[in-house]
Structure formats: structure tokens, C-alpha cells
Symmetry: D2
């Protein structure tokens, strides 16, 4: 966890205190279920919840001190709780194994992390949608291979991003369900010492489903799928970040990360506004993705479990969720406040002197009866002049001045081929696909 | 693609001929839609389909020869088709861009690959289920950290695997839907030169959905999610493969990959039966996973598209699907024919002389009124003797011979604590969760 | 292996025939050493080499047919050789294990592959050096964050690339040494059945060192290091490829991948020259890198060996070397024939109207006694005019026309601050560091 | 950084205070060189060093407070230093760019980290060597595919590990050299505003070489190679860790992670000693490796630099070095104190009833004139009895009791084939290769 790439709500999920609070809830719910089954006294569960109702502070240092002696985190925690609650606490944890607590806790943490990430995605989607509608009909050049191709609108670029992050959200919903399971099944998952009803109760109370077949641990294919999904989302962040970085290049400058007017006046080199947020997002995307491979390697635990996954998760569970949360929020800010320059987009569109329309003219000449070869020759001889002028000459003007062309097409017909509306006539179609009717 | 790790049905999807066949279908369906819109003659579509009805062979060499001249694969293909079909073929591809064909074709190929993989998963699930029920109540030691823990059944191990691959199947169904989209939207995805109705028609005919916002290409987050999902499935394969490898170790030998009786007699070292299939699966899992990172790196194409993804997909699309198909089938064969040795499982269970039951005895002594400290001392002094005997002594026999123990517990009570049934009483619960009622 | 990304010399290393030839050499050299030790007759080695001297064709199909029966590739090969050579061949392979042949063969193949790759790097370095000197003093704008910063030369860009690929070469030399080892040590590496002198002889003949401690197999940390090194080289390829892609962007256009004059005339859209080679290299770099993780996962074989590495290497050894060879050659071609546009570089340099020089003016004003605040204000008010003009106005002209500025600095002094020579005075220093005196 | 997987010396390198100290040294050395060149007063450098000689505490909070205003870390630092040192400090940083400080600092940190890691490797090598010699002639079964193969010694296993980590050390020495470079070259690496002599001076003082061609930043192929090398070392750690985990399995139990006698008495289940340290190392290896891919992705910065690498390095530079340091030290402890059980090794060796010697008997029979077919039949019929007895019968005893065998071989000759010395005769050879004469 790198503090500068962290936000407090997500970070709070991964604190020792938050973990201990979840542990308590798991233990207390389990004790309650044990009491319902008549295995422990009802007073035991009541004592736990009564203490909890006092909203007690968790003394992490005290628990750590006990762990330093017992060398066992869950026992240290139980000991500390017993010190607070008193004798009734001895009924806690009966028939359970530490992993029942640890793994179910991780599920709760990942679910909470997912809920923050889903809210992040909603905020990002909202920001993208607002800007997409704002620039729904703002023409800009579409580029394939970095080279001018045909016109699109800036809104279309953002509509594509919206559709992509909407997919990311759906994937995260599925991944959240994948890790939202609860295991309270004992040493090797057989319920030898604990009734399955306890697991069902804990699961219901925590908003989880029961793990159908745990083996002391919840199977790690679930977590692998979860982190793989975060990796895909990170890659989509990278894509949009790189789009902004490209648009902000000195020679392109169709959009810029926000800078305040104060910032604007602060430099003798007013052009030196660097897309540092989106460059940063490019790096953060790499980091979120870096969790994917170790998560995949974590799946093949030996037999009923080994503990090799644990150290990996101590890193990647906080790091990947905290970093992704930060990245989504940063990207939302970038999009929300992005400075968009339609005039420059138009200037770039015009940069090629109208060459992007050459194919429509070619087709029109052919349809007007000029042979394919002649049509091609007519367009090409004018196109080359435009190209060699490095954008100084205009294809439209040259064609209108070319008698061989005007012999086949009227000026109005020629001008019609340079109509951006031709390219933008289905923007509505795409918007309604992406954003709904 | 490595031939020895390939099966013909999956490999067939990725041949040039298969690709050209799909290209034809896309083009012909598109021409049909164009004809319906009145943009091209109905006769054009008819000519294409009439020719197709003759079940023509695809002359890959001829198409390659044309491509060697035109340097463009789609044009080469169209030229060859035109040579076969005649003049009406000139209406093909109108308003389309090459990527409309290439990307939609890739979707079709990945859908077909997914269907084979789903069938593979069904076969694997069936094999696991059969063996799980066969060994539903076959006791075996559960191991955490590679160390004996408490009893489970061999059927429970397989039930866990079944649940895991059932999740894999659900994930693949979702991933299949993610890549089952069709783009026929022109140079930068604006439908400038082609009506969206054409895309809708092609999609419907090919069993795809329309891509809501393509940009010449179908966005690569879809493919990233797809290959990430294959990577998760591969990791689950690795997990089960490693379980088999462990079980086949000389010292464990609870199960073995199948060998025919003929093979059995073929060596002077009858113990040297190596789990080469599952070792191989371990390696193949690494290979399928190796597609994940490049697929994630493919997402961030520049602007409306660059072509950096293309070379990556030429490798990973065939390799990952072909290898995973092979691996799933190989694993199915391993499970289907796995030699399972219940007697050896029992022998291993007994190996610790009953130490796995020591905790139940400890609890029983406490419940019988012996102090916690004394109970512990009583159990421990016998347990240590068992342990030091390296499995020669039996904890049950020692306890029954320990007067301090029998003072608190009857022989019947002691024996009851060594009852495997205690551990296996919820096998039904788990089976019904995994396999349904 | 994807044929279109393969070159024949590298591909030839990985054919079955090449493999069998290396196997033969290993076996024949080993037999020779065994004969020197008096363990087998000298005539046995002679018979093998006599046959080899006839330059016999390797009948791969025949060997495969034998393998289909024996289920063992090395035995099949030995059987076939025995059929060719006759009775003396029975002394081959004595005391050896299959892995002695397979692993040593892989070493030979990787050494040969390395030699091709080293030659590729030499060719690339030569191409870069030539172009670097050609454009040693061609001014171009240096960019940080994609934004104009200060002037460099195009030669400096290439000098940096040269230094980077020179490092890559040194790394590959080290990686080659890492995998250039020979193991002929028997079933578990103890030389129980074969004298270490045989290994020493085979190693010497094949240009390898002896593996100090093999365990049936050569340890896979060597191969992991090898493929990791290829991954680093691939990333350097990606870096230079992305530089070219950026330079070819429509708005930048300072360089372009080569196109023949014929190609030039072939399109009505003369600007639509796509950097498809370097985009392709970007993708190929991802593929070469994808070998790194499985190679790292291959290291931890179980005990003296398991065979999980084998399937991985069947893919990555050919794929990574063939792809990298192709990529290096393609990049060499790109650099060798790169179209460089110094005039456009100058135009882009001038694009900001001289703003890149503003800091030098600021410093000069301060040094001329103007207060820091006033200096800043003077520069800024002119810089902002330039910036708002989108490159139409010139900072130099504005400053010369600003009386407050000329009160402190003479026109000559102002002009001096716009001298590119100031930025380029250490080009020689850097070139001599990179290319030597 | 996860505190429990961190050691203080390595962690100290990555604290803000350590970073600021290095920054100061870079700035002070540079100022010194500038003074030598006559560009700044000698008194400036003296003032800096005089202050430094007072061993001033670095007030990180104060610097952070300044950064909160200036939004620039290096300026904040310089401002704070100026507050401490006084007016002479204004000559610091002249002609330099922030990256000169940041990148050179990272080099210093990675060099220091490398030195700790090299010492870690030395300690690990020493521990392995001691144990290797201790068990140089301790026989144990060699296993391929997890199946008993032929005898080795436990010392040989460790000798192989020694050779592997010796390679790792050599690789790290090379990787350390790769990142030990210094850049003080200004905004785009041209030395426009600073003389190369300054860089040379700073480099010499800090024990670095000069970066031949920096571009504001030190090229990231160096760092990629560095982290790739750490990934290889991590994989070698994983290999040895997995060996220990295998040896500690209940059924194998040839070695165990150390537990104190006190721990021994603490459980009623004395067999439940889990190899948690080596399982943990398996996970930590995955984490160190997870730095490799983002480090490779960091290489292709845009043009003279973008800042996408920076966030990645904030994570992986501390995490990978701290985790690897911890892992090497933990592994050293594991090996140093490993409980090795020669008796159990012998028992496992004997487990197959001598089947591992069957091939030597087969060969002896053949050499004694028995036909190959008969020899095979004789060995096999006895071997199968041993195998079916699950280790109860002894091949040696059966052979000695088989009249057809004793007709060809004397009892002494038969017993000779069961001599472990045959397998161990070249242990010296291997040891002298690995450890030197």
C-alpha cells in the first residue's frame, strides 16, 4: 500500500481494527447459532452482543501483545475478547477452526471492497456519460494506427468508454458474487465438530452464501477470478488514460487534464502542462494487473490446504483494491474536469486539407459515370498536392478548381462529399445502444 | 500450437480454411442485408449463397497467392471468391472495412472454441461426479500443510473438484457471452458507409449480439476477460493435477494414473509408474495462463485502433483454446480411469496410530470431569509414544491400557472417539450442496 | 510458432530433424568417450561416425512410427539409428538416461538460437549506429510526458537506443552462458552408471560447460534466466517501436516506416501510411514476454525432477526465440529504411513559437539585473501571446519588439538565447560515450 | 510492504528520511563539482557539507508540509535545506532537473538493497554448504516424478541448491551493475545547462557509473533486468522451499522445519508440525515474481520520458527488495536449523524392498551370460512379489532365495548390486565441482 495512492474508506477495510471487528461478528453470529442448536448457552451469545452494543474500541496493541506470546492470531483475539466479555466468552469458536474466521473475514472484506469499487464505477460511468452527451456531436478525427482516418465525435469516444466500463461493472458484480462465500466447516471442511446450520446462520447474517465444499479454506479459484477481473478493469482504465495522454500531446492538444486558471499563469512555458494523472494511471494499471498472476498461482493449494496463498493475499488484497479504488476515482476526476478543445479538434480535422473525404469523392465520380481508373487519377492528383503542402492546401478547393472533376460533379455535389454529417448520422444509434433509449 | 497437445476439432477452428469459410458467411449475410435494404441487387446475395450451396472447396493456396500480390488478406479472399462466383460478387463487402470481417470472424471462432470447451467441462464434470459417488464414503486422511489432519473421504475431494469446475463452467459461459459480439460498422465504427441493419442481420445469423460501440475493432477488454477466464480454468486444472501427483507419490500411493495390465508387467521396477499426465497438465496450465498478461496488455489500443493486438491473438487465440481443450480432455481421462486404492488410504489413515483422534479424546476426558491440564497430560503421554514409534503403536490400544484414562472413560467410550463415522456424518450434506438433491 | 512471424534459420533449429541430429551427436560423442574409457569398443564410436560421415538423411517419419509403438522418443531414435548403423550401435547410450540427451540437446538448441539472436542484435546495432551518425546533428524536439520540452537531435534518440540494445546484447551473452551446459549424469545425476569423463567429453565437443550438479535434468533456473532476458530484450524492442509509432502520427510525422515510391502513388489518401510494422512489433514484444512467467514457474520442479517443465518448453523455446529473431530483424529493417523528415522536425520544433527557449531568456534577464519577478512577468506576457496564437506568433519576435525586454538585453543577446547550438553542444560527448572514441 | 515480511535494514533504505539523505548527497556532490568548474562559489559546497557534518536530523514532516504547498517534492526538499543551510544553499541544483536527483537516488537505493541481498545470499550459501557437508554421505532416495528412482545423498540435494544460489548471486552482481548508474544530465539528457563533469563527479562519489545516454531518466531496461533477476532468485527460493515441504510430508518425514523442544511438548498431536515457513516462502516467491511483468511494462516510456514508471516503482522497488531480503533470511534460518532424519531417509530408501537396485541385478545377470529375456523374467518375478507386499518383502532376500538367480550370480555378487556405494562413488566429484577443490 502506497499512501499517496490510497483513499481512506478503502484503506479502512484493511486495517487490523476492521479485521478484528469482522472476526468478532463471525464469532458472535456463530455463537448465536450454536446457542440456537442448544450446544452453548444462549447467555453466551447474549453476553457477546451486549458487550458489542457498547461499541467497544478494539485494542489492537493488546491483541498483538497476546499474539507475541501465543504465536496465533485468532487465539490472541479470542483471549482478548474473553478478557473484555468475561466467562461467557469461553463458548466462542466452539468446533471452529481459525480458517473459518480468516477466510470468511476475507470474503467480507472483499465484498466491502467490491461495494466501494462498484460505487467508484458508478461515479466514473456518470462522469463519462455527462461528458459524452456534452460532446455528443463535437466532431473530431478518428484515428487508426495513430493516423487520421475518418471523422467521429468526441462523444462517441466517450460512449465507447462508457460501454466498456459498464461491462467492467457487470464483471465486478459477478466477481463479487464469486468471493461472497462463507465457510464455517472445521479443520478439513467436514463439519465434524460443528453443525452446518452454524455456517448457514453466519452466512445469512453477513450477506454471504455458504461455500458448498470448503476444505478448511475457501477454494482459491474464487479469488483468482476476482483479481483477474480487477486486472481487466485496470486495463480498461489504462486504455482511457492513454487516450487522454495522446489527446494532450503538444501536436494534438485536443484535450487536457484540468489545471486551474491560477496554475495557468504560473509558468513561463504555458505549453508545459503534463498529463501526469493519466500517466500515473497507466502505471497504477500495471500494478493492479500484477496481482493477477500470483492470484492464479494461489489456486493449486496442496490437498485440503497449504498456507502459501496467505502471504500473497496479505499484499494483493489490500494493494489491488486500494490501488484500483484510487485509480477509478482519479480517472473519474480526470474525465469530470477534462478540458476539451473542440476548436482544436476541428483544426486537426482540417489538417489534412480534407483528404479524409477523398474516398467519398472517388465513389461519387464512379457513380457519375467516370471510369474507376480515371476517378482514381483525378482524386489522386489533387490529393497529392494537398499532402505535399503539409495541410496548407484544401482538397475541396482543388477539386472545385479541377475542370475534369467539375465536368462530372457539380460544386454542390462535391461540397456534399465533404459534409461531416454523413459520418455522424448514426451517432444517435450508437448512443441509444450504449445509454439506452 | 504443439501438435501433441492438440485435438482435431479445436484445431480445425483455427485453420485458414475454417477462417475463410467464416469470412464468406459474414460477407454473404452482409450482402443479403444490403440487398434487403435495396443497396445491392438481391441477385448478388443469391449468387453468393448459390455458390456456397455447392459446398465449394476453399483453395487456400490460391488465396495466399493473391495475397502475396495484394498484400491484403481480405482483398485477396474477396478476389478469389469473385473469381469463383462471377460478376455478382462485386457487391460484396460494400461499405465494410476489413476489421468488420476479421473481428467478427474471431468472435465466431472463439464462440465455437468455447462450445468445445464447455463440452469438455461437461465431460470432466461427469467423470468427476461418477468417481465422487463411487468413493463417496471411502475414508482417507485429510491433509493440511501436507500433514495428516482429520479424515475426509475421497469422494469429498472429488466433490470439491466438481464444485470448482462447475464454477469454471459458469465463468466460461459468461466469458463466451463477452466475446460473442459482431461488428459491421465501417472504418471507425460510425456506420458512415453501412447501415446498422446490416450488422444486426449478420449478428443474428451468426448467433452473436451487436457490438454497441465498435471503433473499427471490437474492444479488447472482451478478449482480455475471455483469456483471463481460461487462465482461471487452467489453474483449477493444475490444482486437481497436483492432487493426483501427490496421491501417486511412492510414499502415499493412494491413487495412480491408469496403466494397463500390459504396462504393469513391462518393467522390472513395478513402482516406477510416473504421474506423467498430471505433470504434463501442470505445465499446460502454465501455458494457458501465459495468455492472460498479453491479453490484458492488448486492451489499451491507441485511439480508434492500432494493430498491436493482432499478432498476439494469432498466437494466443489458437494456443490457449487448443491447449485448454487438450488439457481438459486429458484430465477427464485421468479422472475417469484413475486407479484408486482404498486399502492404502486406510493404511495411511492408520499410519499415525490414531493420533488424528487425539483431540476428540481430549474433549471427552474434559467432559468426563478430568481437568483440562490432566486431560492434556494423559493424552499427550500416550500420543508421544505413538509418535516416537513411527506408527507402530496404536493410540487406541495405549489409551485402553492406561488406567488413568479408563478411570474416566469406558473402553466403549474411548473406542467411540476413534469412530470415522463422526467425521463423515455430513458427507451427504456436502454432496447435496454440490450435486443437488 | 506463427509462420508469418518466423524466419527459416531460427525455425530450422526447432525442427524434428535438427533435434535428431543433435541427439546423434550427443550419443556419438558419448560413445567415443566410453570407448576412450575402455567401456565400449572403439569400433562402436567409429561405426557411428562413419555412418554420420555419409551425411545420412534423418527419416523423421520412420522414427515417429517406432515411437508410436515404443511410446518413448529417445528409444525410438536409438532403434532407428541401430537399424541404419548396424550391430555396433548397441553400445550407444550406455549408462545414460533420456534426459541426458534431451536436456543437452535443448542447451545446444538454445545456444544456436542465441547465436542467431546475437547476430540479429549486431545487425540492429549496426543499423541504429548508421542512422544515428546520419542524424547526429538533426535537431528535433525532446518530449517529456508527450509535451515539448527542450531540443535534442534525432541522432541522440538513436544513440540511446544503441546503448540500450548494446546492453541487451551483453545480457544475452550472459544468458547464453547460463544455458550452455551439458548433463550426462544418469538417472538422478549421480554418475552411478556413467563416468563423469563422458560428460566432460560431450560438453567439450559441443561447446558447452559441464553442469556441476544435475539431477537427471539441468536445473531450470538457467532457463528461467534465459527467457527473462529475452523478455527484457523484447521490452526494448517495444520501446523503440513505440517511438517510431509516435513519430509517424499524423500530427507529428517526423519519421515514417519505409514505403516504396510505388506504394506512395497507390492511394487516394496519401497520408494513410500506417506504422504497421512497429505496431506489430509491439504485439510481438508482448508475446516474447509471455514466456517469462511460465519459465519462472518451471524452476520449482519436485525433488530430482518432474516433467512439468517439458510441455512449457515445447511451446516457449521455439516460440520465444523464433518470434524474437523475427522481431529483431523486422526492427532492423524498420530502422535501416526509416524515412526521416528533418524539415518536419524543425517545423515541430518551431511549433511552440520558440517557447522552449523561454527559460533561457528568463535566466538572461535575471543575470542582466532585472528582478526575478519582473523577469518572469516580461517573459510570461510574451509567452502567453505565443501560446494563445497556437504557434502563429514567435516568442523571439515578440521579445525583440518588447521595449522592456530590449532595455535589458540587446537583440543579439536575445537571439543568442534561441540558439539550438546551446542544447546540442554535448552531442559529441554522448556519442563518444555510446559509440566509443 | 507488509511489516511481518520485512527486516529493518532493508526497510530503512526505503524510508523518506533515507531518500532525503541520498538527495542531499547528490545535490551536495553536484554543487561541489559546479564549484570546481567555477560555476558556483566554493563556499556554497562548503556550506552544504559543513551543515551535513553536524549530522542534522531530516524533518520529514516539515518537508512534506512544504510539498503540500509547492506540489513538488524536490523543490520542497531544496526549500527545507535552504532554510537550514542559509543563503549559500541557493546555488544547489543549478542546471539540474528533478529526475537527476530522483533517478540517481533510486540507483543508490537499489545498489544498497543489492548489497543487503548479496549478503543474504552469502549467508544462505554458507548455511547450505555447512548442511551439505554435514550430510554429504547421508543416503536418501532420489525421486523423479515424485516416485522413488535411485539413491542420492542429502548432501547432494543441498549441493545442487548451493550451485543454484551461487548462480543467483552471480546474476545479482550483474543486475546490481546494471542499475548502478548516475544521471545528472538535465531536462532531456543533453547537458544543455550542466556540464557532464558534474555527473562524473557525483557518480564517482556515489560509487556509480555514468549513464551513457539518459533522457531526463535512466532507461528502464536496466530496472527491468534488475527485477527480472529478483524474480529468478525468488523462483530458486520456491524450489528449495518446496523440497522442504515435500520432505516434511507426514508420509515422507525425512526433514522438518525446526521446532524447539518446548514446542514439541505443546500439542496432543505431535505429528502436526506444519512446514509453515516454507509454505510462506512459496507465497513470498510469487510476490517477488509479481514485480517482473510491471517492470517489463515500464521499459517503453514515451519519447524522452513519461512518468508511468514512477508509481510502479513506488510499489515494487521497496516491496520486491524487502520481501526478497526477508525470504532469503527466512530460508537461511530454515536450512540452518533444519531437522534432518537420516534414519527415516534410510527407512524410505528401504521402503521399496530394494526395487531401486533391480536394474543393476538385471545387468549383472546379462553379463553373467543369462539371456536378456530370462534375466528380465527372473528379476521381474521377484520384483513383483516385493511390490505386491507393499514394502514388506525384500528383493535382496528373494533373489538370494531364487535358485535360478543364484545359479548365475553368487550371493556376494547379488549383495554387491545392492551396495549404495555404487551410487555414491561420485559424490566427491560433484562436491568438488560445486564447492571447489
Amino acid at each position: 500500500m502506497v499512501p499517496r495512492y490510497s483513499r481512506p474508506d478503502m484503506t479502512a477495510i484493511w486495517t487490523p481494527e476492521a479485521r478484528f471487528r469482522i472476526w468478532f461478528e463471525i464469532e458472535a453470529h456463530a455463537t448465536e447459532a450454536l446457542a440456537d442448536l442448544g450446544i452453548v448457552p444462549k447467555s453466551a451469545a447474549k453476553a457477546l452482543w451486549d458487550w458489542w452494543a457498547t461499541n467497544p474500541a478494539i485494542d489492537v496493541a493488546a491483541i498483538d501483545a497476546i499474539e507475541a506470546v501465543t504465536k496465533h492470531d485468532v487465539i490472541a483475539f479470542l483471549t482478548w475478547v474473553a478478557e473484555q466479555v468475561g466467562d461467557e466468552a469461553r463458548f466462542m469458536h466452539q468446533g471452529m477452526t481459525s480458517s473459518d474466521v480468516l477466510d470468511t473475514c476475507l470474503s467480507v472484506q472483499l465484498v466491502r471492497a467490491s461495494d466501494i469499487l462498484l460505487a467508484d464505477l458508478d461515479a466514473l460511468l456518470a462522469a463519462i456519460k455527462t461528458r459524452a452527451y456534452e460532446h455528443k456531436m463535437t466532431p473530431t478525427i478518428g484515428r487508426s494506427h495513430g493516423i487520421h482516418a475518418e471523422p467521429v465525435t468526441f462523444g462517441l469516444k466517450l460512449a465507447g468508454a462508457y460501454a466498456e466500463f459498464a461491462r467492467c461493472k457487470a464483471r465486478l458484480v459477478a466477481a463479487r458474487a464469486d468471493i461472497a462465500t462463507c465457510a464455517v466447516s472445521g479443520a478439513v471442511g467436514t463439519f465434524a465438530n460443528i453443525d452446518p446450520a452454524v455456517e448457514a446462520h453466519v452466512a445469512a447474517k453477513l450477506g454471504l452464501t455458504v461455500e458448498p465444499a470448503s476444505t478448511q479454506v475457501i477454494p482459491r479459484d474464487r479469488h483468482a477470478m476476482y483479481f483477474a477481473t480487477l486486472g481487466v478493469i485496470a486495463s480498461s482504465i489504462e486504455r482511457l488514460a492513454i487516450e487522454v495522454r495522446h489527446l494532450q500531446r503538444t501536436e494534438v492538444l485536443e484535450a487536457e487534464e484540468y489545471f486551474s486558471p491560477g496554475q495557468k499563469g504560473s509558468s513561463a512555458m504555458p505549453h508545459k502542462r503534463n498529463p501526469v494523472l493519466t500517466e500515473n494511471l497507466t502505471g497504477l494499471a500495471r500494478m493492479v494487473r500484477s496481482a493477477v498472476v500470483p492470484a492464479l498461482e494461489n489456486v493449486a493449494l496442496w490437498h485440503e490446504r497449504d498456507i502459501s496463498h496467505s502471504s500473497v493475499e496479505r499484499y494483493i488484497a489490500p494493494d489491488a483494491t486500494i490501488t484500483l479504488d484510487f485509480a477509478l476515482a482519479r480517472l473519474t476526476g480526470v474525465i469530470d474536469k477534462l478540458l476539451v478543445y473542440p476548436a482544436r479538434m476541428q483544426k486537426n480535422l482540417d489538417k489534412m486539407g480534407g483528404l479524409v473525404h477523398s474516398q467519398r469523392v472517388l465513389l461519387a465520380l464512379t457513380q457519375a459515370g467516370v471510369s474507376r481508373e480515371d476517378s482514381y487519377r483525378l482524386v489522386q492528383r489533387n490529393a497529392m498536392k494537398v499532402w505535399e503542402s503539409d495541410g496548407e492546401l484544401s482538397l475541396l478547393e482543388l477539386l472545385k478548381a479541377d475542370a475534369d472533376v467539375t465536368a462530372a460533379l457539380s460544386v454542390a455535389e462535391i461540397e456534399d462529399k465533404f459534409d461531416l454529417g454523413y459520418h455522424l448520422k448514426h451517432v444517435d444509434t450508437i448512443f441509444s445502444r450504449v445509454f439506452g433509449a
